[in-house]
Subunit: 250 residues, 2 copies
């Protein structure tokens, strides 16, 4: 019994998931918030079953797991009532606490943890600015300008911290929680009428950081190629969003 | 030397705050997110100085404390670099960890903590629906309907938990984090052309909960009367937002 590797749609019956007490991960393969959870699962080597959800036409039964229909969701079938958790950062902190593994990814010091959580939130303005750019070929004039101004915060912060990772000498929670968007930015080389890349003069340390993080084992196990992201974005430009192309050869 | 009890505006110089290492709390007196931080300070009896910020015309110097100009912010002058924390839930968790006092307000169990954080997030749809209603006399038709549907979640949850508080037998983090909006709902008795109150048949347990929480010491020390909230809302209806009326006699 295995769960089909495809995004479940409206009208498709609930997949049969093995009743083996193994954690269940509900995701859309291109969703950056879902990828946060996937990175935690990979970094902590947590066994799990994966169920893909079509976000355009959600299967009716998905609301039983995620009451607002959002991904990611994590179901814990080994616990009484088989509870489900949603919200990527809540899931990340829960997995970090329950599966400490070799080391914790969140800082133990309350102040550093608070500062890291605030830094993760500081990506929101960059995400808000770039999101419409992902899904068009000709972005509005100010979008990339606003995006770059929001990213300056991260160049400044990695420079100030003076460590290879935001987490210090080792990869940490900020690195994993912001990575999914840095994985997607290079797709703009392929999707925009005027190809776009991050300016290596403006973001030297951030681009070094990006290269370093791209070599992390959990990231390598999770990331999709920029060309695959670009292909997905193009299906959205054309109003024919195709989630399953994540599973097709490039 | 004391800090004036008024909202600091654009053009007003930075107040002189005693250099006594005491925590500094930046707020707007009617901001429900700020109130979350204030409730934590009151519940934990944490000494602090309060600086009020005019959100319509923010003082130029405020960006030094809160880079996006948001309230609440908490500055920690006793720590190296005098760091500032923002985001109400980040502040709440930091204060709970650093000032455990008699007891922690966040659950110690990672699963219960995750479930409580998700429940706090579930108030967002109710807040989004009611926010425009606070600032008009004739709300759009669906606003109150959507608001009530979103609140059903909380009636169901308090009923399911079967305890007087969301936190159990004692008040806890969910109770404090959602309270500020429940403090403001009764203002709709006074502000709407067609006065509005929560239906006691639809929300019996939630209304009992509200009454109970309104008697909590930290809540009593923090809450403003529904009529004061209504008066503030009216100044916004009229485009003459007056934050300082929080300090005037009703």
């Amino acid at each position: 019994m295995s769960i089909p590797q495809k995004h479940f749609k409206k009208g498709t019956p609930k997949p049969e998931i093995p009743e083996d007490g193994v954690l269940r991960y509900y995701t859309m393969r291109f969703c950056p918030y879902s990828e946060r959870a996937q990175l935690m699962l990979a970094a902590k080597k947590i066994p799990h079953h994966t169920v893909y959800i079509d976000l355009t036409e959600k299967p009716e039964w998905y609301i039983d797991y995620s009451p607002l229909g959002k991904v990611p969701a994590i179901q814990l079938p080994h616990l009484p009532g088989q509870p489900t958790l949603v919200e990527s950062l809540v899931i990340a902190e829960y997995l970090d606490e329950e599966y400490p593994g070799e080391r914790s990814l969140f800082p133990k010091d309350p102040l550093q943890k608070a500062l890291d959580r605030i830094l993760i939130e500081r990506l929101s303005p960059a995400v808000s600015a770039i999101y419409p750019v992902f899904f068009t070929t000709n972005p509005p004039e100010d979008a990339l300008k606003n995006f770059e101004a929001a990213l300056d915060v991260f160049e400044e912060e990695i420079t100030k911290r003076g460590t290879p990772y935001f987490g210090g000498e080792q990869i940490g929670i900020v690195d994993y929680m912001i990575w999914p968007w840095f994985e997607r930015f290079p797709a703009l080389k392929y999707t925009l009428a005027e190809p776009y890349e991050l300016d290596s003069k403006r973001y030297p340390n951030l681009l070094n950081w990006r290269l370093l993080v791209s070599q992390d084992e959990a990231v390598k196990a999770t990331a999709l190629d920029a060309k695959v992201h670009a292909k997905f974005m193009r299906t959205r430009h054309e109003g024919k969003t195709n989630y399953d192309l994540a599973f097709e050869p490039l």
